[in-house]
């Protein structure tokens, strides 16, 4: 497994245009995370281009033992980004798929391999892009809040973007970041793993929810929707089982969180 660590990668100057690869989960299940990603980038003076033919990075098939199906889907995504602009991906896991695994997937296919290697250089996880390319620095307009950050395993171990997510939260003056126990441990999602091995997945996500609650987080922020759906779905289920009406562990994509805290309305009040 390859690693990107902050500092090891060379970052371009802030561009005028970027592509957004929003991921299938955000397109269908969490579109507001995509919208806030666009808003945050536009506010920095960047035009965001959303290729309408985008679908999925192909990871579900790639990790489930179906490389041919993964290649069929991935090959279509390779065609989406003809201009030499950066491709911003608001998910560490999908970004890692496109940056590190596309070249492996196409190792035996010279044409697609060259394309995937070229694309890999332009793939940026969203918080990585905000920190290292945009040099994001906006005042915090939100109320004092205690949050925990959950970083996906691929964000942490393949993209190295746990550091950039942390840096963004550290830059918010009224946000207190608490660290849950076993913060670096997987939440138990793992794509098809979550339905193939439900007992193990349940044990992992239950432990994750409990550690986040124990840390005193009012809100859990993550740059990966897959983990968020897993953690939030489990926390909701536990709330319902316990007869609680209000969520004990609200979760939010980091794009939503950043926009909510740094957006200004016309009269200068926080959004």
């Amino acid at each position: 497994m390859e690693h990107d660590t902050a500092g090891a990668r060379r970052y371009p100057a802030k561009p005028a245009d970027v592509y957004l690869f929003a991921t299938c989960l955000i397109d269908q299940f969490a579109p507001e995370a995509g919208m806030d990603t666009v808003r945050l980038l536009e506010r920095e003076g960047i035009r965001v281009h959303f290729p309408a033919d985008q679908t999925c990075c192909g990871q579900p098939a790639y990790t489930s033992g179906y490389p041919d199906e993964a290649r069929a889907v991935a090959a279509r995504q390779l065609e989406l980004f003809p201009e030499p602009w950066p491709v911003v991906v608001p998910s560490g896991s999908c970004a890692a798929m496109m940056r590190h695994h596309y070249p492996k997937l196409f190792a035996a296919d010279k044409v697609h391999l060259a394309k995937s290697e070229e694309l890999a250089e332009r793939i940026f996880e969203f918080t990585e892009f905000l920190v290292h390319v945009v040099h994001f620095d906006r005042p915090d307009h939100g109320a004092a809040s205690t949050v925990a950050l959950h970083t996906s395993c691929h964000a942490r171990r393949e993209m190295g973007s746990h550091a950039s997510s942390e840096a963004l939260l550290a830059g918010l003056s009224r946000v207190k970041l608490v660290r849950q126990e076993h913060a670096e441990e997987c939440c138990g999602f793992g794509g098809t793993f979550s339905v193939r091995h439900p007992a193990i997945s349940e044990a992992m996500v239950t432990d994750k929810v409990q550690s986040l609650v124990a840390a005193g987080a009012e809100c859990v922020v993550s740059a990966d929707s897959g983990c968020l759906f897993n953690i939030l779905g489990r926390a909701d289920h536990m709330d319902r089982a316990a007869g609680r009406d209000s969520p004990s562990l609200p979760c939010e994509h980091i794009a939503n969180f950043l926009w909510r805290r740094t957006a200004e309305t016309l009269n200068g009040e926080s959004a």
Binding site: M35, A61, P67, C186, A199
Partner: protein, 485 residues
Amino acid sequence: MSHPIQLHPSADFIARTRAATADKDLRKGFRGAMDFLQAKRAAQFPDPVELETLRDLGAAIRRHSLACLPDLLEQLEGRLTANGIQVHWAETPDEANAIVLDIVRRRQAKSVIKGKSMVSEEVAMNHVLEAAGLEVLESDMGEYIVQLAGEAPSHIIMPAIHKSKQQIAALFAAKLPGVAYTEDVDELIRIGRDVLRRKFAAADIGLSGVNFAVAETGTLFLVENEGNGRMCTTVPKVHVAITGIEKVVAKLEHVAVLNTLLPRSATGQAVETYQNFISGPRKPDELDGPEEVHLILLDNGRTQAYADREFRATLQCIRCGACMNHCPVYARIGGHAYGTTYPGPIGAIISPHLLGIGATHALATASTLCGACAEVCPVRIPIPQLLIRLRNEAQADSAHASALRGAGESHSVLGSLIFRAWALLYAHPAFYRMATWLMSRLRVLAPARQGAWTQMRTPLIPARRRLRDLLREPRRDAARDSTVA
């Protein structure tokens, strides 16, 4: 008597994981032990640059050993033979056991005392020796405990890690005559040692594993913490060592590097208490040591991994157990749930070559591919990548199945159909747009029960409007003329 090896660990894997995750004591025990071992390892590698440099070096040494494996094995056999160590080759567990039984018969041995050896577990040697009427005693404290309990090791370095102090106290009181129940750990160890000390002197054969076999010198390198390994290899008149063919390294200096990584990665120790360099039987002018030393080199499917460019990395393993110590799945289910000699991430990648890919398919899928194992592996085995490859091999249809043992056995018609349909949808943007548009419109019909997902989570409901819909709507907040194209 130790457990016979499961021939099809996949069969009841899900049931075993249900039982294991429901066992609160087991969960708490493993979590505590894993946290402790992770912290100890981390404390041994305070300097990340040193750690990464050592891992590079360790990986290079192991890759080099494998790159010239046939030559090194030949050289090893030559040097060992010159040193007076008898070398035996075993292709299968049965052959390995037959070699040991042959030595037993020739020496008319009645008892065997064992140091820790996972390869002997792999071939179920205790089972075979006991069936032949021999007394077999494990002398490693952890192995002794699991042997007393009639169990198999649940960890390759710490065999009894699944047992609490209280369970061990109860076990000793129940199984050892005249021993009273005590939870005093020092006392428990003293009790165990008393039993073992008496047996060392009487045993006819000492059996051990090998950490590294050095080709240039013909040396067997063996590490341990209890001194039992040295007793097993020096007190009985016959010493039989058994190891996999991949454990050979070219030079003695390679051991220095690998053993800088091994104890720190395994138990978080700077160095083991005992390092044994075994270079032959007792010489005529020497006062002690065994009269005979044997080495059994076992294949048991390793050559299959060796022959494959990608799977060969599996054999780089130095059996430190760091992958299982850091695995969130292992921490939840423990070692026994895997049903294989080698549990955890290394078990999931080596077992398919020992037992077949079909028989072990569930182990390869029982990973989130989180990468915690690869992050700590001292010899940089790309474990998640190998798990993905194993998943490909397991489910391949007959037209694509490789020659690897058990490839294609887990092919599922339904699974293939699902992913074919998935690819049809996601590789054709027009289909994808239609399907996702429908899902948004029919969101109120989203099922409340979504298979295993909703066994313990609330259901996933599509949003009213997709991102692509929201982006096409006029926006008050648009700061730039972004496009959907």
